[in-house]
């Protein structure tokens, strides 16, 4: 059996979604992008805008990772290997830096 045939056999064992599913995810991503641009057009206050935009970005990232990158169809062990440690590191960076940036702002002469 050739290497290509073996790879195809392994690939067939995974449920990888259909064209309809991928087109649906793509449409959702476009819709969320349009909503983001609409929010920018409204020019909401910065804190509200940032909160909503980061929330939408996280939803878009989850759609891309789950369906386009197939993580939803992989073993739970792979998800547990990759995602929690990464989220922990990002949270640590946020906890370390954000309070300091506000402190720097308040130290400026008014």
């Amino acid at each position: 059996m050739s290497a290509n045939a073996v790879a195809l056999e392994v690939a067939d064992k995974h449920s990888v979604g259909s064209t309809r599913l991928f087109a649906g995810v793509w449409a959702w991503l476009l819709g969320l992008t349009a909503f983001e641009v609409f929010l920018a057009y409204l020019r909401l206050p910065s804190v509200i805008m940032l909160t909503i935009l980061v929330g939408i970005s996280l939803i878009k990232a989850a759609l891309i990772v789950s369906y386009f990158m197939h993580l939803r169809f992989e073993k739970l062990g792979l998800f547990l290997l990759l995602i929690p440690a990464m989220v922990f590191c990002i949270c640590m960076m946020l906890i370390m830096f954000f309070p300091d940036s506000v402190r720097v702002l308040n130290l400026r002469p008014h």
């Binding site: 290509n4 392994v10 064209t19 940036s101 506000v102």
Partner: protein, 209 residues
């Protein structure tokens, strides 16, 4: 005993039921996502700490152009995932065609981005250390973030060209296409954070607001 040996936690030959190339790409993506996270957090830090941070992007043309770039990148992810699906079915022609469309979208993204940089540098006078609007850190963070992303897109387009050529010739298999797809989707994913944080949060305020 047999059950223990077959358990995903037993450290067998393939505990995650994926090949080593794919696991390697996933680990690279985690490491690269931390690089981009650090850059985005640094951007947010200097932006928050500088009250005179500029908001130079008008809805037309800057936001319209970056929205078009977002649509192009999302469409490239769709063609990529369809290419991966075709490669798994052994459809060589469709796989190569989808990969070529993905490369075309990637190059279109880079071209539009390059024209935007050209306008900012030559017409607006923005450099990595100065700009006519406010905090000089704006240029450094903007060019740093978008430049690193543009580099990733350019490298991705070259990577996909090699994979498309190799798959068409029968040198590479469906695993290679899938691993290159993971990289491409990651590049798309990073833009989903750069677009709102750098562009939409910097829309010019209406006078009086």
């Amino acid at each position: 005993m047999e059950g223990i040996v077959e358990s995903p936690w037993s450290g067998g030959g393939s505990p995650f039921a994926i090949n080593s190339k794919k696991l390697g790409m996933w680990l690279f993506i985690v490491s690269d996502s931390l690089t981009f996270s650090a850059l985005l957090i640094a951007y947010a830090y200097v932006r928050l700490a500088n009250p005179d941070w500029p908001r130079p992007f008008e809805i037309w043309p800057a936001i319209a152009k970056s929205t078009l770039m977002t649509v192009i990148l999302l469409t490239s992810s769709l063609t990529m995932v369809l290419g991966v699906a075709a490669s798994r079915k052994g459809d060589v022609k469709k796989t190569v065609r989808m990969l070529i469309w993905t490369i075309v979208c990637g190059l279109a993204f880079v071209l539009i981005h390059a024209t935007e940089w050209y306008t900012l540098i030559t017409k607006e006078g923005v450099t990595p250390w100065s700009n006519p609007w406010g905090s000089p850190l704006f240029g450094g963070t903007f060019f740093g973030l978008t430049g690193l992303h543009m580099l990733h897109v350019t490298i991705g387009a070259a990577y996909l060209a090699v994979v498309a050529w190799g798959f068409g010739k029968g040198k590479y298999n469906a695993d290679h296409v899938e691993v290159s797809g993971l990289y491409w989707h990651f590049v798309d994913l990073v833009w989903m954070f750069i677009f709102p944080m750098v562009y939409l949060m910097s829309v010019t305020l209406r006078s009086g607001s």
